[in-house]
Amino acid sequence: MRLSRWLVPTLYIVFLLLPIYWLVNMSFKTTNEILGGFSPWPKNFTIDSYVTILTNPVWYNGYISSISYVLINTVISVSFALPAAYAFSRYRFLGDKHLFFWLLTNRMAPPAVFALPFYQLYSAIGLFDTPWAVALAHCLFNIPLAVWILEGFMSGVPKEIDETAYIDGYSFPRFFVKIFMPLIASGIGVTAFFCFMFSWVELLLAKTLTSVAAKPIAAVMTRTASTSGYELGLLAAAGVLTIIPGAIVIYFVRNYIAKGFALGRV
C-alpha cells in the first residue's frame, strides 16, 4: 500500500515525460543521425535546428503571428467577458438562462463545422490572412469560456461588498475597477491564461483563416512535416519551442487549473 502510493503517480509522470523527452532528444540530433537509426540519446549533439528556426524568417514569423493573434484574442475575450460575467453572477434578467446556455453551446461546437463558413465570412470582410481574423474566430469558444470561468470566480465574492461600496458613494465604474477587479484578480489571471492556452493550442481555424502573411507556427510545422517529410530535427525543435511558454506559466496557475477546465465550476 505504502509503495503504491508513490509508485502510481511516478509511473504516470514517467509515461507523460517519455514522448516529451523523445521530442527534445530528436531536436538535438543531426538529420543524418535521425535517419541513421535508433539511438536513445543524441550522439552528435547539435543545436543547428534551433539556430535555423531562430534565424529563418519563415519560422520565426510563424511564432510572431501566433503570439499576436493569441494576445489580441486574450485581451478581447477577457475585457468583453468581464461585464457579462458580472451581469450573470449578480442579476436575473429576461432570457439570462437561455443566453448562458447558448454561450456554452459555442464552447462545445466542433471547429470543423465552422471552418468553411469562417473562411468565407472573413474573406468577405477583408480580414482573411490577418491575425485579427484568427483572433476574432477564436472568440467563438474563448469568450464563452471566459464568461463561465469569471462567473464562477465572481459568484464567490459576497454581494454585500457591492452594496457597501454603493452606500460609501462609489459610482459603478469606480467600484468595478477599484474594488471588484482586485478581489477577483486571481480569477482574471486564470481566465487570461485559459484564453491564451486554448487559442495557442488550436490549429484548424488558425490554419484555415491564414495563407501566407499571418501563418501561425502550427501551420508552418504541418507544412514542413508533410512536404519535406524528413526534416524531423527541425520539426522537433519547433515543437519544443511551442511547449516552453505553457511550461513557464503553468506553475502560477497550478492550483486553479482544475477550476479553469471545469469552466469555473469546481
Binding site: L7, R90, A112, C139, T242, Y251
Partner: protein
Amino acid sequence: MTKTWNNRAWFFVLPVLLLVAFNAIIPLMTVVNYSVQETFGNNLFFFEGTKWYEAVLASERFHGALLRQFMFTGIILLIEVPLGVAIALTMPRSGPWVSVCLVLMALPLLIPWNVVGAMWNIMALPDIGLLGYGLNKLGIPYNFTRQPFSAWFTVVLMDVWHWTSLVVLLAYAGLRSIPEAYYQAAKIDGASRFSVFRFIQLPKMNRVLTIAVLLRFMDSFMIYTEPFVLTGGGPGNSTTFLSIDLVKAALGEFNLGIAAAMSIIYFLMTLLVSWIFYTLMTRGEEQ
C-alpha cells in the same frame, strides 16, 4: 446567492452577445443555406429541400465515421476516467510534492494539438521512434501507417497521454475539498479502504467527475488535429473521425451540400450533449 431582477443587465451582456453572434450565427446560417441548396457554380443556387440530409444519413461513409467516432470516444472514456481517478487517489494530499505533481501532470494539456500529433508521430515511427522501435524489438509487429490496429492503438494511447491529466486534476480538486474530519470519523468507525472510497470520496467527486466525463466526451467528439497530424485519418479510412471526414468533404472535395448537411447533424448532436451538461451543472448549483 439571491440575484436581483434587473433587465438593464442586458447592457453588460450586449458586447459579448454581438461578438459571439457574429461568429456563431452568420456562419451557421451559411451552413443551413448550403445544406438545403444545390449549386452548379456561378453562384447559382437551387432549393433542394432535404436531399442532402437524406444522402448523408444514408451514406456508408457517414455511418463509418460516426461509428468510429463513438468507438473512439467510448474507448478513451473507459480508459481515462478510471485511470484518472486511480491516479488522483494515490497522489499526495499535502506537502512539497503536490506542486511538482500538478505541474508535471498539467504539462500535456498545454501543448499545441498539432505538436501532440507530431510528437507521437516521431515517438511511434517503427524504425527510429522509441515506441515503434521498442514494440518491434519485443517481437510485436507494429506499423501505424500500415496496420489499422496499430494506428488505433497509437491514437488511443496519444489521447490517454494527452487528456488523462484533465480527469486527474478535476478528481484531485474534488478530493481536496473533503475535510480531514471525515477520514478521522471513518477511521474511528473502522471503515475499510473500499468503503472510504465508496461512501466518502466517490460522493464528493460526483460533481467533478460528471464535468470530467462530459468535457472528455465533447472534446473527443470534435477531435481533429491530433489524429490528422498523426495518421491523416488512415491507413485507408480507419482513423477518420467525424471532424476529419467533415473537413475532407468541405475543404478538400468542396462538396458543399453534403458537408453542410453533415455539419448540421453533427452540430445538433453536440447541442444535445451541451444541454445535458448545462442541466447537470445548474442543477448542482441550485442545491
